[in-house]
Amino acid sequence: MRTIGIIFRRELAAYFTTPVAYVFIVIFLLLAGSVTFYVGGFFERGQADLEPFFDFHPWLYLFLIPALSMRLWAEERRSGSVELLLTLPITVPEAVIGKFLAAWVFTGIALALTVPFWITVNYLGSPDNGVILASYLGSFLMAGAFLAIGGAVSALTRSQVIAFVVTAAICFLFIATGSPIVQGPLRAWLPAAITDGVSSLSVLDHFSSVIRGQVELRDLVFFGGLMALFLFANIELVELKKAD
């Protein structure tokens, strides 16, 4: 545990010693803000809530999270620092989890900086704050799942560009499995049991139910399971590919 904490702190600090952190946070806030207040028709809707803001999160994360996760392992391997890191008295799971937690907490910080939006809607009306809190939780969980996917992909390659593109593609699949684009063709060929199974892997479906205030165990299990699965893959891939 102590080792995970040390790696976590180094990684988190590293975000703030480079412009990465500031660029990420500024873009995140600008996009989230403009979508919420302009694209989402915040003022026209005459309703004080943050639904348009959260509705947009899967699409925002689709490219912001890969931008954050692409360097997790690809950069370590490109620069050779992975050899230093993994010959210290630490284990691969400790390194993987420490790095993941730092990236996750970092997105948590970016998310926390949108709290003024929350305050604004409370100032303008009386939103259901329980739903908003649940939505923040759902968004944070979704970010974690995407980061876990991105971390595993980042362990596959030395190229940050490849890590970015592949992560974005996989995240897109997880977002879109429930949508007509994917379900339409599948329904034509496969029995309902299978298409429903595929659909139940949809990040969008789980996220939508959470941001409407229905936090169910199956949604938590879904996001938790995605994270666990891809963190496990990440550990295996680092072991396998570290020296290539």
């Binding site: 040390i6 180094r10 590293a14 010693t17 230093l84 210290l88 020296a243």
Partner: protein, 312 residues
């Protein structure tokens, strides 16, 4: 128990056999120099010792801890400088070493003391607050050395610790290694042959993944045709007749010109490293040749190295 034990260690990457069954042990007080051409398998061997690569066959241990089965314990007792001294370029030297100290289990004041000690040893004080990225190659290498030394490990493995340094920096690093030699088991790799002479107690020539020679630097030098050769430079020109007589002395193999335009001297090469100094001296005196310079050679490592590795 030997501090480093290697037995039948092998590593292949697909079809490439990088290391083919290496066995040896290293004890406290030894500084082993891995010598070998590029691609010989030096780094691969070191990476297996450091627990970064898993051996394809064989086993290795550090202070009695198997590097695979008991890797964490082995890595705790090891200081390792990977080739090229990688670090986190955005960190300052100070924060990087503080990170290493924490990972090595030091806390608070203890950690600061450990960092200070390492910084002193490698003389890094002046650049502590600079990002590693902005440091010169010499300072980067010292950051890597400080990292490896920080916990005062019993076993040190340094992959090309002086590569790319200027002569003064090389000298400093060699002195540093020399100063630690008595209390540790150390392996360094190098292409620089004088380095073996300067710091190593034992030289190991590696080529094609095998250890070809394992002995003292002196034993390695003794393999050179120039071992105990006598270099003679006469005042004026050495008469051809005397040169012929030198060649005919018992124990002398041949006489050859030094071979440089600005060097009128000759080398008198012995048979089997025989001690021919007194005979050469005596003959020159008897013939009344004025001697400007006369010295006995120790041997040329580069030739030995070439002979050993080309034959493999």
């Amino acid at each position: 128990m030997h501090l480093i034990e290697i037995e039948g260690l092998s590593k292949h990457f697909g079809d490439i056999e990088a290391v083919r069954g290496i066995s040896f042990t290293v004890d406290r007080g030894e500084v082993v120099g891995f010598l070998g051409p590029n691609g010989a398998g030096k780094s691969t061997t070191m990476k297996m010792l450091a627990g970064f690569l898993t051996p394809s066959a064989g086993r290795a241990s550090i202070c009695g801890h198997d590097v695979v089965e008991d890797g964490l314990a082995a890595r705790r007792r090891l200081g390792y400088l990977p080739e090229g001294a990688p670090a986190y370029p955005d960190m300052t030297a100070a924060s990087f070493l503080a990170f290493i100290a924490q990972i090595r289990g030091f806390r608070g004041a203890e950690a600061r003391a450990a960092v200070d000690r390492a910084v002193d040893r490698v003389d890094l004080g002046s650049v502590l607050e600079q990002p590693i990225d902005t440091l010169s190659k010499g300072f980067k290498r010292r950051v890597g050395l400080a990292q490896a030394l920080l916990h005062d490990p019993e076993v040190l493995i340094l992959d090309e610790p002086t590569d790319g340094l200027d002569p003064n920096q090389k000298h400093q690093v060699r002195q540093l290694i020399g100063s630690m030699a008595a209390t540790k088991a150390i392996i360094i790799s190098t292409h620089i042959l004088e380095e073996v002479d300067a710091v190593c107690t034992r030289a190991m020539v590696i080529a094609n993944g095998r250890v070809l020679v394992d002995g003292t630097p002196a034993a390695l030098e003794a393999r050179s045709p120039y071992h105990h050769a006598v270099y003679v430079r006469a005042e004026g020109k050495l008469p051809a007749s005397v040169q012929d007589e030198l060649g005919a002395l018992p124990g002398v193999k041949r006489v050859e010109a030094a071979g440089r335009a600005d060097d009128q001297g000759v080398y008198v090469l012995p048979q089997n490293g025989a001690d021919i100094g007194p005979l050469v001296r005596g003959l020159l005196a008897a013939r009344g040749v004025g001697v400007a310079e006369l010295r006995v050679e120790r041997g040329r490592l580069d030739g030995v190295f070439r002979d050993i590795t080309m034959a493999a």
